[in-house]
Symmetry: C2
Subunit: 344 residues, 2 copies
DNA sequence: AGTTAGCACTCGAGACAACAGAGTGCTAAC
DNA sequence: GTTAGCACTCTGTTGTCTCGAGTGCTAACT
């Protein structure tokens, strides 16, 4: 098996045409539309080879060929040309910045929207993983004699709060002193560094406040545990219905069902630890309902640390070049947006 | 036009059967399945009257009848029997409470999920309208020399935060004193009572702190304005695809598109000012894409004050009795859940 | 040896007719 | 006022046919 120049050209033509039209592409189409200087009969011979090697598939005897997952994989890895979207992208980003967004969740929603409207696929955005972000401030606020609200502010001003139910009442001043002490000890640490051993040490150190400290520290730990799975924002879910491959409602419904399982998506996005772009094509997906889909994901950073993931999901017949370009651009620039909302 | 006992019974039978099967119901079906003691010919005569008066419709000459919007309206207003769901409902609520939810948004999501999975329709839940809730605590936290985070805690421990960019640097102690003063003046007021005139008065009163107070008060006002449209949580969107009336993908897509316009839904839900349940059937809907749908909504309270809305959306062929019963039950009991998370 | 023209063959999509079934409206009898 | 009977209408399904796109193979060409 040797893929010479001409076979590559033919494969590329098939994939491009199929991505464009969604129809199986025949030898005559290629010889007419793409200038290869050979007749359809020659192309037929070459296609026969490409099929033997598993890069293309014939849905039925008298139809044209469509790319296989293996074909797409080769295309994505070696053949595809990337688009540059600097200028277009900038305009879109400006549009987001014009709106007065100053909550992280609003921003993530907006990014998801942007992503889906620009690619016409379904987009997924995971919010920054709080464990990887650094503690900026911690504050205890008394609500009534029995309950205290714990507020944690981290990088990019991500705010979490939790009500702590106290066994011993604590007054405003005590809580203030405690807030200060905790801030001094913990500020600048990433949330995942504030683990049980460290908390145990603090408990000993702050002996005077005894039990109050104890229950508060437990609550801190609890809050952190709770926020372990990041929020997932979806947008353009129904874009899927625009693709003929999901005309079969049963298939579409299955996929929708899967998309509603946020935990599943979270674990899927969490796997993107690698820097850069990851493309998962059809059968490569671990989730059965997604074996007809391709997923393109990219991770994004805060302060140079990977904290979250963005991605799109569409049919295997996806405009990979576009998806990759858009994701790459947005993931590279997302930290700027995050800093922007952090600065108010 | 006079609807005697028998016509009512026949209309009810048609509606019930159609809601159940989704198929036009014929005279023979009724005479067989529902014991009215008359033959199909008699029922045919009666049906002819009901059609003349607009309660039922014949899709084509040789088909059975289906209820019209007018028919459903009569059914909902006068004929329908309500279900009691006390026991079932309680179990579902317990299930929610078992999970450790202590954020309002988690709760609302969970309620939406519950609603959609229990009714099999698409559910909408609007989060408590912050303007109607009372201020419980307000806190200013210094982030760095130039920015301060404003945290507002209201009823049911709904927390909002916003970063304020300061022209004049303010130190920790100053902010603390300010927090205390503002708390004293504003605590217990509903957020909508904290309006510009009141803020102006405060500016004068706190003359000593001059410009710092001024920019903080502006930020408070800004934060409140920003949070004006409540969050909308949807669940079970794709349930719509289960109904044969949305087999036509174009119709379904239109509806999905409408459902993604959160602002539209927000304004739709905001209209439910009336206490109790509101049923909007087919053509009664103002939004074109929803003229094939029915919407059932109910408002819910915090501390006896209406603060939000829950609802379901489905085909006009909806199990109104179930929808109404479920919504009524949940809306009546939602404040208990809200209180529960408020108490930690 | 590689390329091309020609041709028989296959398969799917669409058009069309025939048919069965459900349901109605009307009439005449009870 | 109710019912049985019957002719009529409309839809959905099934089977048959044709058309067109596309292939694979063979034989001829460069």
């Amino acid at each position: 098996m040797y893929l010479d120049e001409r076979k590559i050209k033919i494969l590329k033509a098939i994939i491009k045409d199929y991505i464009l039209t969604g129809e199986p592409v025949g030898s005559r189409t290629i010889s007419k539309k793409y200038e290869l200087g050979v007749s359809s009969a020659t192309i037929r011979n070459e296609m026969s080879d490409l099929e033997d090697w598993g890069f293309i598939i014939q849905p039925h005897t008298s139809a044209g060929r469509i790319p296989s997952d293996k074909g797409y994989r080769l295309y994505v890895d070696k053949l595809m040309e990337y688009e540059t979207i600097e200028d277009k992208g900038l305009k879109l980003f400006e549009r987001i910045l014009e709106q007065k967004i100053n909550q992280i969740d609003e921003l993530m929603k907006e990014v998801a929207k942007l992503l889906s409207s620009f690619t016409n696929y379904t987009s997924m955005v995971s919010s920054p993983h709080i464990k990887k972000t650094k503690l900026k401030h911690l504050q205890l606020i008394p609500l009534d004699t029995r309950s205290v609200m714990l507020i944690i502010v981290t990088d990019a001003n991500i705010v979490t709060n939790n009500v702590i139910r106290m066994d011993i009442p604590a007054d405003y001043d005590t809580l203030n002193v405690l807030s200060n002490m905790l801030n001094e000890s913990l500020k600048g640490l990433t949330i995942e560094e504030i683990n049980l051993p460290l908390i145990q040490k603090l408990k000993v150190k702050m002996g005077i406040y005894g039990e109050i400290v104890s229950s508060i520290l437990d609550a801190i730990d609890h809050t952190i545990q709770m926020k372990d799975t990041p929020e997932i924002y979806l947008s353009g879910t129904m874009n899927i219905l625009n693709f003929p491959e999901f005309e079969d409602l049963v298939k579409a419904k299955q996929l929708f069902h899967t998309l509603e399982e946020k935990e599943l998506l979270a674990s899927l996005l969490a796997k993107v630890t690698t820097d850069g772009i990851k493309v998962t094509i059809g059968e490569e997906n671990e989730i059965d309902e997604m074996k007809h889909c391709s997923i393109v994901t990219a991770s994004y950073d805060i302060d140079g640390k990977t904290v979250g993931t963005i991605g799109v999901i569409g049919p295997t017949r996806m405009e990979y070049s576009k998806a990759v370009s858009v994701l790459s651009y947005i993931s590279k620039n997302l930290d700027k947006l995050l800093r922007k909302i952090a600065d108010g």
